[in-house]
């Protein structure tokens, strides 16, 4: 096999595949022999296993999230520009970002000469790792927190800060002055905005007395007046500005300011390595929005608690054998029911078209029905939906800002952080502390 004719990715695969095969065989053998012992070990240290599983799961969900956000950005900014935006691939161009991802995968992954190859190769991995590992502590719902750390908030800031290391690595190893400037800008910006970001939530920590996100969310239970955005408005503003800078979003996207330093730290990257940077940015946007909604917008709490204790209780077991019958017949009947009016509506519509349309409508309707049923019957689903609504509202705000605002200059940026945000956050901390001293929690 012509080893030197392979791209780095190809070499990795060539090494990985046999290793995986052998490893798989070995694992089966081991499971067959020491199955019981392994089970015992897993039972012994469950948290580690859970951590590993959760990491894999978050990694798997982070990619579609990135795709969704990229599509949202393309479409929303296009609509704000009085354009239509992606509309060719998929319904309203919804698959466009996926195709972009495939394109990036298929592009040549070029390593320029005279770059520091190991660092250059590692940097995107570090950035992406840092961004999706923070997903672990996001409390999607009370029961849907992958890792309910006691120090969740601290973990978030720590791991989130790691991404700067990746950016610096990329900027330094690229052997390009634009990359160098971009990396240094990213580092300076992140360092100066970590501080107000961390300090702004101290007030909330004082109020709740905990650092774990599920507990902070639980502390905002009740009506929307209990949300911390109303109890700590100053902290909310500081936090919002700081996470905007954290996620390198306009107007604070100096790290990859393409009008000044061509693409910043990502100038020399191509193919999937650039794709990692790209995805990491959008995963970051999702994460900071989720964090904001968890910390300030009451997370998974509905704005107003309406207790419609539903009496609709479908006892599936009562149906007995009828259940599979219904499951088999219902789609057909529903499809025909929806297809018939369409078919009668216009003579130009052929039968099969009507059937397809009917099936789709039936699918939509039944999904909606099941969703509503779940929303009403299952509290986790309801809270998850509330959480996602808030998060995506914030994501929309970020994209909206990107569509509107020009970029701030780097020195004005730093001055703003050190001269305004830092004193304000300290002021907020003292005010909260006094209030707690006087009035108690």
């Amino acid at each position: 096999m012509a080893w030197n004719r392979l791209t780095p990715a190809g070499r990795i695969l060539a090494v990985l595949l046999p290793v995986l095969a052998i490893g798989g065989a070995l694992t089966t053998v081991l499971l067959a022999t020491f199955g019981g012992a392994i089970a015992a070990t897993i039972g012994a240290n469950l948290p580690i296993v859970r951590f590993l599983v959760a990491s894999v799961v978050t990694f798997l969900i982070s990619v579609p999230v990135a795709f969704l956000l990229i599509y949202m950005e393309m479409k929303i900014i296009a609509l704000m520009n009085l354009r239509i935006g992606p509309d060719r691939i998929g319904p309203a161009g919804a698959v466009m970002s996926v195709v972009h991802g495939l394109k990036v995968l298929m592009k040549e992954d070029y390593t320029p000469p005279s770059v520091d190859v190991p660092v250059f190769t590692l940097a995107p991995v570090v950035v992406y790792l840092a961004s999706f590992m923070t997903l672990l502590v996001i409390p999607f719902a009370p029961e849907l927190t992958s890792m309910g750390f006691e120090l969740g908030l601290l973990y978030f800031f720590a791991i989130g800060g790691l991404s700067v290391v990746g950016l610096m690595m990329a900027g330094w190893s690229s052997f390009n002055k634009y990359s160098l400037l971009g990396g240094i800008r990213a580092a300076a910006q992140a360092i100066s905005y970590e501080i107000p970001l961390t300090l702004s939530v101290v007030g909330i920590v004082i109020l709740t007395g905990t650092l774990s996100l599920p507990k902070i969310v639980a502390a905002q239970d009740g009506s929307f007046l209990d949300w911390f955005i109303f109890r700590q408005p100053l902290a909310a503003i500081i936090f919002f500005i700081a996470i905007t800078a954290e996620a390198n979003r306009t107007p604070f996207d100096n790290a990859e300011a393409d009008q000044e330093i061509v693409a910043g730290f990502a100038t020399e990257y191509s193919g999937m390595r650039f794709g990692f940077f790209f995805f990491a940015e959008y995963v970051n946007v999702f994460i900071v929005s989720a964090l904001f909604s968890a910390v300030f917008l009451g997370g998974s709490n509905p704005p107003i608690h309406i207790d419609l204790n539903p009496q609709i209780l479908i006892d599936l077991s009562a149906l007995g054998i009828g259940l599979p019958l219904i499951a088999g017949i219902a789609p057909v009947v529903g499809t025909l029911l929806f297809a018939a009016p369409i078919w009668f509506a216009s003579s130009r519509i052929k039968g099969w078209q009507a059937l397809i349309a009917g099936f789709l409508i039936f699918g939509g309707v039944s999904t909606a029905a099941v969703g509503i049923w779940a929303f009403v019957m299952l509290p986790p689903v309801a809270s998850l939906i509330w959480f996602l609504i808030k998060t995506f509202a914030l994501v929309f705000t970020f994209v909206w800002m990107r569509g509107t605002l020009p970029r701030a200059r780097i020195d004005q940026l730093m001055g703003f952080a050190w001269k305004w945000l830092l004193p304000a956050s300290l002021l907020n901390i003292f005010a909260t502390a006094f209030a707690v001293l006087i009035a108690g929690r």
Partner: protein, 273 residues
Amino acid sequence: MPRIPGSGLLSGMRLTLTRFFQPKRTVMYPEVKPDIAPRNRGRLELVTDEHGTLKCETCFQCAQACPIECIDMGGIDTKGRFAVHWGPAEQYAERREESAIRRSGRTVSDAAAATGTTINTAKVDEILEAHDYDPHHMLAILEEIQAAYGYLPVDALKRVSRATGAWYAMVYGTATFYKHLAFEPGVTRSIAVCRCANCLVSGAGSVMGTLSYEFGTEFGRAIPWSNLRLESLPSHLPDAPSPLVVIDGEPQRDLSAKNAASWAAALAGRYAA
């Protein structure tokens, strides 16, 4: 006046949000073609007649008028003698040679005239004087020049263009349009084939076909790369074989319909060499 910090940003956000819901201005290009203004001059088009043959007769006037020389034309003039090009200089080296004047789209300049002539243009001047240097008499002038010199020397054409102020390209176009005007001294060599019934029966047609194929021209035309002409004899010569082929006046004896092809090939090779 004092303004709340950030109010400008917020007003801008409001504006973008309103535009977010406004009708969009995109032109869905492949489906919706943009309308081309009736006055558009951007499209060059070669017109064909109902038989599908091009109406363009390579008069080069469009290419002369094009200021930025985006029109690139090539053609063989009616004499089959000169391959004519109009195109960017870096593509056609011959444009830097004398024939470039023909395409320069203006009268011959002092610089080009200063290179001197190879002929004595006194007679040309007399003819021009007789015609009062009137470019409208171009055909008559050229005919008289040919009568005087036996053909049309290029230097004479340059002189005419210079004296009358007509573009050289126009003079050249007139000279090449009429069949009876020649650019080379009269045809010296000719291959003549007899077309009487006897010869045709004995295969003169195939001989003519192979000849015209080998020399790449038709009968009655000069051959582009030489001053050789393919002609057909008016009548059969006495005591001559059939098929009869006469080269520069003497009949060919060793020829028949069988070896016509190889013989013509050999002939062509001899002339090409």
